[in-house]
Symmetry: C2
Subunit: 426 residues, 2 copies
């Protein structure tokens, strides 16, 4: 890994895959087709791209039961415990509305209501991602969303991975469709004979899924378009090089565009981590991916002081930040921009990916400057409430009418003035 003296703000912004014109054209066609032809279009595209068009788009109850039966009981317990932890953390995010009393019984309020229906896209391919199911479904459930739908492309055997079905089962989600790609996003946004539309779509996917989410945005809500994973570690001489290297590689193995950065006040640690990264890389199954990521976006910065290091972290606004220093908690309190912070030696980042309870859907590519990880608020909306009594209206109507006229909106002024005056019944 490159080692550089830190002497300025740093950035880990990468130009993300935007898709090309042809891909966008394809996605638009798929969406049009699904809107026009419903299930038939879904089957057509599933056959074309996934090589398999299931007779029944919806996963049958018996398929879920079968998956649960054949699943490793220890892993089942692990997933169950992870789910419990995630529920526990997200329950803390729940909120209620408020009512602010004014004079004479008048009041202003804020009501919180959940979305009616949300859809989670779970990517297919070689691996199964049960953790995505937990991380996306649980905040929606805690928010009070009644209808939660999962959709994911079936494999060549016409099945979804057991791990995905088991995770859904643990959470009590039963509306699961074997549909992937842009056609899945179109179905969730506009509905088909089988799949009723939802109000929000979350979950990661390939470039076609990402483009489709952008296209239907506005018709429904979407979560962020997630970029490749990032880890930034802020460490001093108290940290162990092998552990730092392992954590850097845990994110580098995700994607050749993933980004792993160490900022340290220790020259010795910098050198030792660079060595350890090489050693560990050579034994990593996903070595090819991790090596490219480290070559392209891996970097070790040596800072003069913790204060300089903190400033650099805040300029990065990394998705994941580990603070492994003396007084790590205190140091972490100086961080203003990060998706998630892991404090101390034993809070290795994958702890949060799978188990601790915090969400692993986090803002990337410096968007932690203004964005947050997935949370319960992503599945609620706020309605403001105004109740004015006659007296409050009477006191304030002239002011409101003046302000409306200041903006040239006479109709607004007249509406406020229209009450009561001439009818005199009150």
């Amino acid at each position: 890994m490159k080692i550089t003296i830190l002497d300025n703000d740093i950035s880990l912004k990468r130009q993300l895959e935007q898709g090309n014109e042809q891909q966008l054209q394809t996605v638009r066609e798929v969406i049009q087709d699904v809107r026009a032809k419903g299930d038939a279009a879904i089957k057509y595209y599933s056959e074309k791209w996934d090589g398999f068009a299931p007779e029944n788009l919806r996963v049958a109850e018996c398929e879920i039961i079968e998956a649960v039966k054949s699943f490793d009981p220890q892993l089942y317990g692990d997933l169950q415990e992870a789910a419990d932890n995630i529920y526990r953390y997200h329950n803390e995010q729940k909120r209620t509305g408020f009512q602010l009393p004014l004079e004479d019984g008048s009041y202003l309020g804020q009501r919180i209501t959940p979305l009616d229906a949300v859809g989670l896209y779970v990517p297919g391919g070689s691996a199964a991602y049960p953790s995505s199911v937990l991380m996306n479904v649980i905040p929606a459930q805690v928010a009070g969303v009644k209808r939660i739908v999962i959709t994911s492309p079936a494999g060549n055997d016409g099945k979804l991975p057991d791990a995905v079905l088991v995770a859904a089962h643990i959470l009590g989600v039963t509306e699961i469709y074997k549909v992937g790609g842009a056609q899945a996003i179109a179905a969730l946004a506009y509905g088909t004979e089988t799949i009723a539309p939802v109000d929000k779509i979350t979950g990661p996917g390939n470039i076609f899924v990402a483009l489709a989410k952008r296209e239907v945005f506005g018709e429904v809500a979407i979560d962020m378009i997630a970029g490749p994973s990032e880890i930034c570690i802020l460490a001093d001489e108290s940290a162990y090089a092998d552990e730092i290297a392992a954590d850097l590689l845990s994110q580098a193995e995700h994607d050749t565009l993933a980004c792993a950065v160490l900022i340290t006040t220790s020259d010795d640690l910098a050198d030792a981590v660079a060595d350890q990264v090489e050693i560990q890389l050579s034994k990593l199954p996903r070595q090819a991916i991790a090596r490219k990521s480290i070559e392209n976006f891996g970097h070790i910065y040596v800072a003069e002081s913790i204060k300089d290091a903190v400033r650099a972290v805040n300029s990065l606004a990394p998705e994941h930040l580990e603070v492994i220093t003396e007084n790590a908690e205190k140091v972490s309190e100086m961080i203003t921009h990060a998706g998630a912070i892991f404090i101390g030696r034993y809070s290795s980042e994958p702890v949060g990916d799978y188990f601790a309870g915090t969400n692993h859907v986090l803002p990337t590519n410096s968007t932690a400057r203004f964005a947050s990880g997935l949370n319960v608020d992503d599945f609620i909306k706020r309605t403001s409430v105004v109740y004015y009594s006659e007296k409050t209206w009477q006191q304030n109507a002239p002011k409101i009418a003046r302000l409306a006229r200041l903006e040239g909106l006479e109709g607004h002024a007249r509406a406020v003035e229209s009450r009561g005056w001439d009818k005199g019944e009150e």
Copy 2:
């Protein structure tokens, strides 16, 4: 206005102005130019489109003082009181993070931090919109945003409207630029010699502003792209036709694409409101706009029951809803989807546009199904925090490693397993 028997879900979705390819091309050029040439590009485009390129982009302190001095003192008081009300309501939205203790001193947390810098676009043109200044700036201030920037196109006289400067002055905002259009959005997103970039851009604007906001989205955060205003009134025989008509017209006068709908259980009220709309329309200064809006999107539905009416409202998910019925509060509690609810006869919708304290930036075009009005949370972000003690790590590391391997991510498993084992110093 058309009167129809309500017999099904209704929709007020309109095809919104998306801009054409040429407009998008123009906007992209402007953004490129501002990124490359900074202030010079801003002045070039301001001259070209606004007919005026100010020597100093930033409004001088003396201009603000002059505006305040020459401003009507009564109106100044009205704006001040409106600001106080808006602060009061939005203060209730403030939130703090939390810390959830686990075993052995371990904990999970959520930290809330404000955005560093936000920019508000205030449209220019014939009218001044001080209420936009109040509604966009105050939630950001309550959130704790330190740098708040306003940008707005100068008039032919090279000035911003007094009302805008006065509103900014009341809120203590002093960083104000005489820049409009796509060039303003580009400057806020990427910065120039004079204008430092911000993290989020809010505020309405013409099609060029809207397209520019879409283009820079991701680089910075943006608020929603607001559609034309909507009002839905749910009323029974207890309501007064002239007041209902006045409130419908108050939104219709905004835009020819604005939408005004009455849903009532009273045939008599339906007829009387249709008459009143005609009578009042003929005397309205913005008659031409309001008449088109009413012709295109105005509608009166007669419902069998309040229950049916409520269902129809929820299918509309209107931006503004007035409930003017017996037991209006009770009825309002059945509403699940609306941007803002105004309860009872004296809570005419413009009360919320200017004065009551709730926000007037609200979700339109049925997006109240999943979106909320502008609020303090739009200007904060959440950082999750994980602290695992050695013991908590020891207990859970095997489970986390198993879950990582289930997803094929060996590097994640190794990271978690890398702690302590062999070094045995703890």
